[in-house]
């Protein structure tokens, strides 16, 4: 499925009424969208380049309007575990951070995935490894889609490439998390977080009442009535057979997600002889490189994975017989390129171009890489 109908509908239904169009940073858009989609709680610890998410929430004071809780906690370990607790109660809860902070959360994320609890985690990536730099990066791809924490789990991973998508994917991330009872990750980078673009914010949805939560999420620990057994959320099963059963259930869920939820966008791909694959900011830069290539008569196209997990493997695989070569562009040493290579399985050359440690490649560089490596 190409750019999903659901997203199309979201975009079409937006009247481009100038009064509804606002200019804001990607980080601010996440905060507004969270309040509007009926989020119950945000728990976070500030870190550049995403501090505006909590700052905006604090300015909006949603505890006075929707009743949403916004809490600055003492560390990322606390924030993810507060999300774990809130999610266990069936609440729509989220946290946000940037790369080093998200590393701290990995244990909790693994627990939430095993506990089969819905929540939204936002990672506005910055350069690493280590404390790194505050400039934009995409080097947390492996951590995000290959399981940064322990055990066999997957995170639904959405990669926005615009401020509008920061708002839309906050809503979509929660929707998918609750559809599958699994954590969703919104994987952005410093550029998308810090830049301002036009955005139409999603409509207001009320927060669910406790009764509505108990009905929607019968597993939630909301207080036991006499009519049912206690709901217990745990990730510990000392019997290996029991743990294998849990794992098989998780895997079955991941196969469903892989079947139903793949999202990607194609640009100038119909007659493309060379395919560029990039997500997030790299996709924006690569789109310009594709425009420049076309102006020079090079038939290039761009495929932008929107869900990094589930990865658009089939969509990329289909190009193996159509194009002469594929260039993957990332702000990393080359991580997603491995999944692109797996998708085409040696049927077409896959080259890589990337910048590291917080440097954003320029459209010129990408065009040059396309020419020297493939054309």
């Amino acid at each position: 499925m190409s750019y999903d109908l659901k997203l199309k509908e979201m975009n079409d239904s937006k009247k481009q009424n100038i009064d509804e169009v606002v200019l804001m940073k990607g980080n601010e858009a996440i905060a507004h969208a969270a309040v509007r989609c009926g989020c119950d709680g945000y728990f976070g610890y500030p870190i550049t380049p995403q501090s505006e998410i909590m700052e905006t929430l604090m300015e909006l004071e949603p505890w006075n309007t929707t009743g949403m809780v916004v809490l600055q906690v003492e560390s990322e370990t606390s924030s993810i575990n507060m999300v774990y607790g809130a999610a266990g109660c069936g609440k729509k809860s989220m946290t946000s951070s940037s790369s080093p902070g998200v590393s701290l959360m990995q244990e909790g994320i693994s627990y939430i995935a095993c506990g089969e609890l819905p929540c939204l985690i936002v990672n506005v990536m910055r350069g690493g490894p280590g404390l790194g730099t505050i400039q934009p990066s995409q080097a947390d791809y492996f951590q995000s889609v290959k399981g940064g924490g322990h055990g066999d789990y997957k995170l639904i991973t959405l990669a926005p490439a615009s401020v509008q998508e920061m708002a839309d994917f906050t809503v979509l991330g929660f929707d998918l998390a609750f559809k599958y009872n699994t954590p969703a990750l919104l994987l952005a980078d410093g550029v998308i977080g810090q830049m301002m673009e036009k955005v139409v914010l999603p409509p207001f949805q009320p927060r669910l009442t406790d009764e509505e939560i108990a009905k929607r999420s019968p597993w939630a620990t909301v207080g036991k009535p006499a009519t049912r057994k206690p709901n217990i959320i745990t990730t510990l099963s000392l019997e290996a057979e029991e743990m294998e059963t849990i794992n098989l259930r998780l895997q079955a869920k991941y196969r469903e997600i892989e079947k139903n939820e793949v999202l990607f966008e194609e640009y100038d791909c119909e007659d493309a002889e060379y395919l560029v694959v990039a997500f997030g900011t790299s996709a924006r830069v690569s789109q310009k490189a594709v425009e420049m290539a076309r102006a020079e008569g090079i038939k290039a196209g761009l495929l932008r994975p929107i869900t990094l997990y589930p990865f658009p493997t089939n969509a990329i695989s289909n190009y193996a017989d159509k194009v002469k070569g594929i260039l993957t562009v990332e702000m990393s040493a080359g991580q997603m390129v491995e999944d692109v290579r797996l998708a085409v399985n040696g049927r077409v050359p896959v080259e890589f171009y990337g910048r590291l440690g917080g440097i954003v490649p320029s459209p010129d560089e990408v065009l040059n890489a396309l020419k020297t490596k493939l054309v």
């Binding site: 100038i18 169009v21 200019l23 550049t48 380049p49 730099t133 505050i134 400039q135 410093g190 550029v191 810090q194 830049m195 301002m196 673009e197 036009k198 900011t281 924006r284 830069v285 789109q287 310009k288 490189a289 425009e291 954003v360 320029s362 459209p363 010129d364 560089e365």
Partner: protein, 181 residues
């Protein structure tokens, strides 16, 4: 129409706000806009810059390697961005504190000594709007009425009484700017 602009200067000069006002003005005339700041450590007392793109079509990359127009408000910014103006493009600078002036001959170079004017006339708070006025004189990419509409939309209501002061600063900038080549 598509205009790719870099505005660069010292942190605190209002570089980012000026870019924001420009972006809002584009928004008010129905254009696609992007505003991408340098948010690195250089902001703290060093150089700050912002890339603003106004376009009639969907904007691909918010990050650019060359610009139609560069506005440079200190020496390091001139040194960094003079070479990145597209041939035939526009460079606007405030010469305050400069020891090296622009040397390119294939671009249009304008000088606007807004810092000196703002200090002499006690209008330092609207300094960046003087620069914006200069830009709009030589590159009329947005209508002044849309700048004012943009200000109205972006400023909280309690600051709306400052809009006429900003309008005056734009007029001043239009008078101050002069072509060098």
């Amino acid at each position: 129409m598509k205009e790719e602009i870099i505005i660069a200067g010292f942190g605190g000069q209002g570089v980012l706000s000026m870019g924001k006002i420009l972006a809002y003005s584009g928004l008010m005339q129905g254009q696609e806009v992007s505003w991408m700041p340098s948010y690195g450590p250089e902001q703290r007392g060093g150089t700050a810059n912002v890339t603003v793109i106004l376009s009639d079509e969907r904007i691909s990359s918010p990050v650019l390697n060359s610009y139609d127009t560069a506005i440079v408000l200190n020496q390091p910014s001139l040194d960094k961005f003079e070479s990145k103006v597209k041939p035939g493009g526009t460079l606007i600078f405030d010469s305050n504190g400069f020891h090296r002036f622009p040397t390119r001959t294939d671009i249009n170079i304008y000088q606007i000594d807004a810092i000196e004017y703002a200090y002499a006339n006690d209008t330092t708070k609207t300094f960046n709007m003087i620069i914006l006025g200069g830009l709009l004189k030589v590159r009329p990419i947005v209508l002044i009425e849309n700048v004012l509409k943009g200000l109205k939309k972006s400023l909280p209501e309690r600051h709306h009484h400052l809009i006429p002061m900003n309008e005056k600063a734009i007029q001043t900038g239009m008078e101050l700017i002069k072509k060098l080549n």
